[in-house]
Symmetry: C2
Subunit: 495 residues, 2 copies
Amino acid sequence: MNPAPLSGLYAPSLSLLTDLYQVTMAYGYWQQGLQDREAVFHLYFRKAPFGGGYAVAAGLAYAVDLLENLRFSDDDLAYLGSLKSATGGAMFPQAFLDYLRDLKFTCDVDAVAEGTVVFGNEPLLRVQGPLLQAQLVETALLTLVNFQTLIATKASRIREAAGSDTVLEFGLRRAQGVDGGLSASRAAYLGGVDATSNVLAGQRFNIPVKGTHAHSWVMAFEDEPTAFAAYANAFPDDSVFLVDTYDTLEGVRHAISVAREMRANGHELGGIRLDSGDLAYLSREARALLNEAGFEKVRIVASNDLEENLITSLKLQGARIDTWGIGTQLVTAYDQPALGGVYKLAALRKPDDSGWDFTIKLSEQLAKTSIPGILQVRRYESEKGQPRADMLYNVAEPLPERLTIIDPLDATRRRSVRPEAAYRELLEPIFRRGKLVHQLPTLEESRARAHREVLSLDPSIRRFLNPHVYPVGLEESLNTFRTSLILEKRPLRPA
Amino acid sequence: MNPAPLSGLYAPSLSLLTDLYQVTMAYGYWQQGLQDREAVFHLYFRKAPFGGGYAVAAGLAYAVDLLENLRFSDDDLAYLGSLKSATGGAMFPQAFLDYLRDLKFTCDVDAVAEGTVVFGNEPLLRVQGPLLQAQLVETALLTLVNFQTLIATKASRIREAAGSDTVLEFGLRRAQGVDGGLSASRAAYLGGVDATSNVLAGQRFNIPVKGTHAHSWVMAFEDEPTAFAAYANAFPDDSVFLVDTYDTLEGVRHAISVAREMRANGHELGGIRLDSGDLAYLSREARALLNEAGFEKVRIVASNDLEENLITSLKLQGARIDTWGIGTQLVTAYDQPALGGVYKLAALRKPDDSGWDFTIKLSEQLAKTSIPGILQVRRYESEKGQPRADMLYNVAEPLPERLTIIDPLDATRRRSVRPEAAYRELLEPIFRRGKLVHQLPTLEESRARAHREVLSLDPSIRRFLNPHVYPVGLEESLNTFRTSLILEKRPLRPA
């Protein structure tokens, strides 16, 4: 057996994109007769990535696609049927595989819209429905939402640093696999970059694509001016010359001489690209050479392991860069390549159907202890639409008249809510009983939302270093209940 | 337009998995009549990842699959035809799209086998053939080989730290997209882990799959002993209980009480898993409790952001861990999430067909200057098969009788080669004129190769901190030629 690894990949089924333990637990629940017990899970991260003050939610469109197409194919079932237990028997009996064959996704899903600004401990996604199903989708949901939220957030930070400059994403060659590239291009666009080099992403997601030429283009010709002239011949109105194959400033001079010929023929050089060396110095020198020669409008594109802190530093140094090309650092989220999103059980219908049992996962660290309930996130906003504080509350319990928000890590930090304060609820119905009930926004709409929401945050929350902590808390009665549940579940150890 | 992002992904065509500049250059070469000029590109990285002394080559099976299926579908061409230039006209004329429609991959490809130990500056892949084609495949080859080589290398380091302990990979939920998980599972297995939790990887690549249960399993039952007993009922001979949902050592005691019941029924508990807290302390305490109760064979599985340095440290602290579960740190290569592999033009057939022009890309840093020629890597080995030094040489030029290997970064570091020294050539023919001429090994065979090759390295090269630098150099005449080419291409600046 030596199958081609890419051929036919993903189509037709992604139902096995999961950890084996989801399937073993599914079997266990089925065997115990617990498969249809109603359960509620929340998907959330604990801490915004990159030491930042916020994240930009992304990945929901992928999650919806996956859930809509969740079914086990004959191939999937044959594979599960082939798995053996330690004693050599089948891991799963045929009756369970038959159950999986007939399984349809019937859960309710609520989620925050892609492009929404989110904070630690807030559910991005809530799945409510039969325990077996709601558990089964954990891994895939985490894979899709964790990564795209991470990249959308990184892109929004890079956008913050670049201001109104153009930002291009071209990380595909350093991406973590085919769709480490593809879904990164999508999330980066959602988070604020202007275009990608990734043609497949351009095709699939209607993202603007950009690209010029590589060093090899220059090396394929007798000399650099010949190479530039040949490229200008192919793309008379879209040329950006990469000038550092041999010597950067010499390259700029060659670009200028070709730009003069272009102008004589009625065309204008679009830009030059710097890909190595001291970008602050070289961009200033290049700008001076270009301006001196009458090419004030030729743009300077820079690349080379750039990220938000380097962009900020280059701007402080007076770099004259118009367009930022971002690769590795963006598509791999180099400084924090994973978002630690988790998916935790928070409620289970009582066996006698008399209400809910709310569940909690303890930890030695309070920050890692889960939040019980069926949670909604209420965002209070100022009159100008600036987010002021987020309140997590349990929709299965009545809200008290006077609302107080309590920091889950420090119960002495509290905020009262004015009764007339404007708010919106972040989790929206996406699936009801397995049926998609939500018209997903286009990628452009999600991108516009991300832009709007990030800009609505106070700059102190957006800054890179030691950002102000946006207030997220539990509604007081939820906090009280959670504390009592921790005390109940945690053994009282001797001192 | 709001297409479902996963549905139909990858099938039928991955030909657009590329940077736009590959297509613009392709058009430029075609327009200049240079499309069939014979060219040679090398894919290599400059520095082994993670501060280590070596890398484990991986990704070739994916690259072969991609190249064998390289053709532009009608959809691909329609998309390229829809792209506009800055002035609003079509970016590519129809005649060029017709050319792409008929394009067949006709290059020669030579590559090092998956599982081979490789070092900086050594070509992992050499593509020789029509300039347009050899250029066009750059991005996809880099995406596939960069990431899988990175992960296989990380896995081999984790294997080094774990010794003969069992190592499980279960990083899917934190992976960078669907196939950031899928291809990571494959590469991790190739590099030395024993099994994965990723069911899709198990199915596609025939990798052993493993899994137990999550915290939610425990939370779904009235109490922990009931949850453990229910799981043991479903998997009487394959149970590993996760013991830290509420309190770890209390969880171990509950596991022991259920293990006693299991034993009374003729079954044995497989193991317990620790997923938080002080793993050194908790594993020792758990081991003592288990042994005291007569469960010396129950294995202790540990997880929680583990990687090679933590494993080493835990072992030094006397941790009693039998099985290491590795997630995020492995599948994202957390401490260095990208391998900086590049793809550089190194030779072009002269226009009059009278031989080769060898090409070079300069850089301010000598380490980033490319190596001209049509390169092969010759590995000299001791009588016991231990690698001694690697020599890069140009197969288009005759080799001198007396061979000297020269460090490309320090020409005073030289090694002479004994005429009788045993060697092997690392680059093997994979494609000839676009036809696959190589029987790819199975994943198991590549994994066995990786294991054998890593162990054949001197331990000083395998160590994590400041490893010994394995000698890789240029054959003397190649080094002399390269130096003259640098001097020729680099302008002599005034002091």
